[in-house]
């Protein structure tokens, strides 16, 4: 160690040695930065090639006719109507299950639950659930929702399977969003006489909307691309009809029979087309894939915008 007031004069060769070391360390630093850049660009490049390839093969197939037609044996006439309607309805069921349950569970674990071995156990298992292969959720849904609850091979069973699949994502992102709120904000509310529920409802939820909705959208974009749980519960690959309408022109005006309708979804339709011989069907598959990709990227973009918008007034 060399201090300003030290009388020890370091030998010249020692300083030279230090200088050499410093240069070598800087070089390592620089090379690691370059390596990281190359790897990142490589990964992004693969993604870009994938997207471009899908676009090159499928873009010409995407038109109004493609979006409003049922699948067909003739590739040029086939469309994704039943697939995207199925996907939209599945997402509706998934969201109505995963959002309330996941957000409530996140609030409970973060704000209410005592910290003990039992809650530690629950926490670890929620993290584990996020890593369970999706086909196992399909098996669970097949046994529980399809057969035990007799929901059949329906939109309800499929949506619930996907809801269970993404529930851990919603729980974890809710907890993380709540955790970013400083303790002193909670204390300010409690010191004024707020109950836990009032603190959550008046402060913690509004201040964490950005984080929670980002998590929810990311969960949804995970669910939208899932096919294996849907295939496991028996989603059909060829559907040439739409589920019954939810709004009727006669009393009672709303109907939930669509929940019990058989269905298909975009990834399943795509899988079906990929597995067929013939160039034209490959083009259809690419078009469906492109559609799915655009929806997913759109949702992720929306998540980013939503987060920025919700957090614009919040600085801790």
């Amino acid at each position: 160690m060399h201090f300003a007031g030290d009388s020890i004069v370091l030998p010249e060769h020692f300083l030279e040695h230090q200088k050499g070391r410093a240069l070598r360390r800087k070089a390592i630093d620089r090379w690691f930065g370059r390596l990281g850049l190359i790897l990142t660009l490589g990964t992004l490049g693969v993604l870009a090639i994938l997207l471009l390839n899908l676009a090159a093969n499928g873009l010409f197939r995407i038109d109004w006719h493609f979006l409003t037609s049922f699948p067909s044996r003739r590739a040029a006439e086939a469309g994704v109507l039943s697939a995207w309607v199925g996907t939209a309805l599945l997402m509706l069921v998934t969201a109505s299950l995963a959002i309330p349950l996941g957000v409530a569970a996140g609030i409970y674990l973060e704000e209410y639950a005592p910290k003990n071995k039992w809650t530690d156990f629950v926490e670890i298992n929620i993290a584990n659930l996020a890593g369970v292969p999706s086909i196992l959720y399909g098996l669970m849904a097949l046994g529980l929702f399809v057969y035990k609850f007799r929901f059949g091979q329906s939109i309800l069973a499929g949506g619930m399977a996907l809801g269970c699949l993404v529930l851990p994502i919603v729980i974890v992102s809710t907890r993380e969003a709540l955790r970013t709120i400083p303790a002193m904000i909670r204390e300010a509310a409690f010191a004024l006489g707020a109950t836990r529920w009032q603190a959550v409802w008046h402060h913690l939820l509004p201040y964490s909307t950005g984080g929670i909705s980002t998590g929810v959208i990311l969960a949804m974009s995970r669910a939208i691309g899932e096919s294996s749980p849907l295939i496991t519960i028996g989603a059909l690959t060829f559907i040439a009809f739409l589920p019954p309408p939810a709004i009727l022109d006669h009393a009672p005006f709303v109907s939930f029979s669509w929940l019990f309708s058989p269905f298909t979804a975009l990834p399943i339709q795509m899988f079906n087309w990929v597995s067929r011989p013939g160039e034209e069907f490959q083009a259809n598959a690419a078009a469906a894939g492109l559609l799915l990709m655009v929806i997913t990227l759109g949702m992720n973009g929306a998540a980013i915008l939503l987060r920025r918008h919700a957090q614009r007034n919040i600085k801790w």
Partner: protein, 288 residues
Amino acid sequence: MSTQPQSLSPAKNEPLPGISLGGRTNVDPAEDKRPVPAKVQIQELSFFYGTHQVLRSVTLEVPKDQVTALIGPSGCGKTTLLRCLNRMHDLYPGNRYEGSVKLQPEGIDILGPGMDPIQVRMRFGMVFQKPNPFPKSIYENVAYGLRLQGMSKRRELDERVEKALREAALWDEVKSRLHGLAHNLSGGQQQRLCIARAIATDPDVVLFDEPTSALDPIATSKIEELIVELKKRVTVVIVTHNLQQAGRISDMTAFMYLGELIEFGETNRVFTNPAKPQTEDYISGRFG
């Protein structure tokens, strides 16, 4: 988690919460040399985090409409004592109170069995170390306590918000932007906003936990003036690391050390002629 910690040594002849004693009949006038009646009577208060005892049988009378400063080195328990008064410790698991804290003139034991911490907190305002306004408008920050107490009429709220902001010496600076974000205020203004928020509900006592430790000297002096002004109508208890501050603004000073109350008396007397050697050592800067 203990949301209703039981007082372990409830005196059998104590009145039930909410029953008025009609003044200070339980205070021996001979022992009480001060002309000021007590607002908060802390009697043999001990506090435990798990098995760790933080406060050791503290007995202290906070006089009404005066400023009482709690001083002492870090870790002496002064903030812990302050947070006993509005039961903030109940928010976290593993804590236990012993003894009693009576809010006069009713004589309610705020640590008593069946006492709801939420009710206690509605009568004690609190101002924290760092300004912690909600990320809402200036107006909504001040109105929040009133809303919690059930006030919803716009005109009433407007009046009370203005009154609180005037009392916090902030009105003139913010009256044109009441619905602007609180976070756009400076640190000192934010802290005065937090004071307005704490006094808007007309609490009996306002607790200050080192309120100026994050502020510059000018903002600090404004807060100090404000505290002196506040005691005309509310009892103030302030924890401070700053001895000069305690000397400037407090009427009574309590010196704490290792969880015990070492000395309590009029500020002038404690600072000029401390009775205990530890107090003298601390005040003269020999430790702490």
